[in-house]
């Protein structure tokens, strides 16, 4: 039988908030098959929830871009970014575990719960600012971006007034409109910033995430100053676009499913469940889950040879009808837990309790404050940044009269 031509990865979306149709086609015909990445390299792609979890939990698949073989990336820019990270999300065990465990206590469910009041205060202040502005606002700029940036400042013990600086530099760094020099300069500015933070904590120990990392690990030599500044920057990057996009696109999704929003107005206790369904439905970490095989591995009825690349698509997994019935239906009454929106395996998002806390507070409070909230532009009009995380450039909403 002749082999059909490989599909080109990444696939284009036909609609803004739902997965590219290729996932369902592949899942039906040959759920573990080969695609071709931007530079012509072949890579396997897993599209079933079960297979995606299997790949991500198997230590024989490496996350380290230095591993010999193919690291399937969505673009050259993404690959370059991954190669330059130098933090635990691009390391394999045991080096990964050694570094991750330095910050694990900061992100326990109980510890994150301590920030509930701080998150609520930030949310309410941002809603106050939006109310004062009135009319049409960009939800990304006014709400999605500042919330995670400000809570990160609180946790790390940085001045909240520095939040816009992070946003600006990260935007320049990530934007396709930036030249390579501009992009490099923005990253350097961020690294310099955290370099100064680490130096400051060495001189003046503080009781915050940055201070504890320096006191507990840099001072005794288990982590270098360079390692500390990269880790702090990575924690910042990991929580910004992701949470921001969930807030912005989550709002669009709810406003385009008014019957679901009504259910939540009538049963506010369902909000936490709705947040899980939003995480599943949107799965904004669209290009997370690339691995390189370090051995020959049997999976999904095929042998992935050593050095070959595998894409474990979180988005495809969360739309697998074998795991989630009628996945195309956005249904806030569904028990969506068990989704892999935060990934799976040792690299599962370290900040997930914080992300949940932010979303569980921000989403209901937004709709309580602005019950007449409506979209100025529908999802069909949205423009997206072509980045690892699915993010809209702007989401214009009309606030209507506040409650």
């Amino acid at each position: 039988m002749p082999t059909p031509p490989r599909l080109a990865w990444p696939f284009d979306r036909e609609t803004a908030l739902t997965p590219p149709p290729e996932f369902a086609q592949i899942r039906q015909s040959c759920p573990f098959s080969e695609v071709e990445t931007w530079n012509g390299e072949p890579a396997w792609i897993a599209t079933r929830w079960e297979d995606v979890r299997t790949v991500l939990a198997d230590h024989r698949f490496s996350s380290n871009p230095a591993t010999p073989g193919v690291m399937p990336a969505p673009s050259e820019a993404a690959l370059t970014f991954w190669q330059n990270k130098g933090t635990f999300d691009k390391l394999d065990p045991p080096e990964h575990d050694h570094e991750r465990k330095m910050v694990t206590p900061e992100f326990t469910v109980r510890n994150i719960e301590r920030y509930r009041e701080a998150v609520t205060d930030i949310v309410d202040r941002l809603l106050d600012d939006m109310q004062a502005q009135g009319g049409v606002v960009d939800l990304v700029e006014a709400f999605g971006n500042p919330l995670p940036a400000q809570i990160t400042c609180v946790m790390m013990g940085l001045p909240v007034s520095d939040a816009p600086f992070f946003r600006r530099q990260l935007l320049t760094f990530m934007s396709q409109a930036s030249s390579p020099d501009e992009s490099k300069g923005a990253m350097q500015a961020l690294l310099d910033y955290f370099d100064a933070v680490v130096a400051d904590r060495l001189d003046h120990p503080t009781d915050d995430v940055a201070g504890r990392l320096v006191t507990d690990h840099v001072v005794n030599g288990t982590l270098t100053g360079e390692g500390a500044r990269r880790m702090l920057l990575d924690l910042l990057i990991g929580g910004l676009d992701t949470t921001s996009s969930m807030i912005a696109l989550g709002t669009v999704t709810l406003l385009e499913h008014p019957e679901q929003l009504r259910l939540l107005e009538e049963h506010p206790a369902q909000w936490n469940q709705a947040v899980e369904e939003l995480l599943r439905y949107l799965t904004i970490a669209q290009f997370i889950g690339s691995r390189t095989a370090t051995d020959d591995v049997e999976i999904g009825g095929v042998t992935v040879e050593r050095g070959h690349g595998v894409i474990a698509s979180l988005l495809a997994a969360n739309w697998d009808p074998e795991r989630f019935e009628r996945p195309e239906e956005f249904d806030v009454t569904r028990d969506a837990r068990g989704h892999v929106a935060f990934g799976f395996g040792v690299h599962q998002c370290i900040g997930q309790p914080l992300a949940r806390l932010e979303l569980q507070i921000a989403m209901p409070r937004l709709f309580e404050r602005f019950p007449q909230l409506s979209l100025v532009t529908t999802s069909a009009d949205l423009e997206f940044n072509r980045t690892t995380i699915h993010t809209a450039k702007q989401v214009l909403v009309d606030l209507g009269a506040p409650a």
Binding site: A57, D97, R100, P105, E106, T108, R337, V346, Q352
Partner: protein
């Protein structure tokens, strides 16, 4: 039914604590899993099964009656 946690596999994702809060906890010093109630029965069984299935690193195992 009994549930056993392997702290050497745990990465402190907190999934089990969110799914079955009465059964699992996290150490304040390491962030890693602590099983507060090893013997599981009644209403907790379903939650613990979910927690075991959703643990991203396979750090939780069930044993005893009612397990395969």
């Amino acid at each position: 039914m009994r549930v056993v946690a392997d702290p050497t596999r745990c990465i402190g994702s907190g999934n089990c604590v969110t799914t079955a809060p009465g059964v699992f906890d996290q150490s304040d010093t390491t962030g890693l899993v602590v099983v507060s109630d090893v013997e599981i029965d009644g209403a907790a069984v379903a939650d613990v099964r979910d927690a075991v299935s959703w643990c991203p690193v396979g750090a939780l195992t069930l044993s005893g009656p009612g397990t395969p």
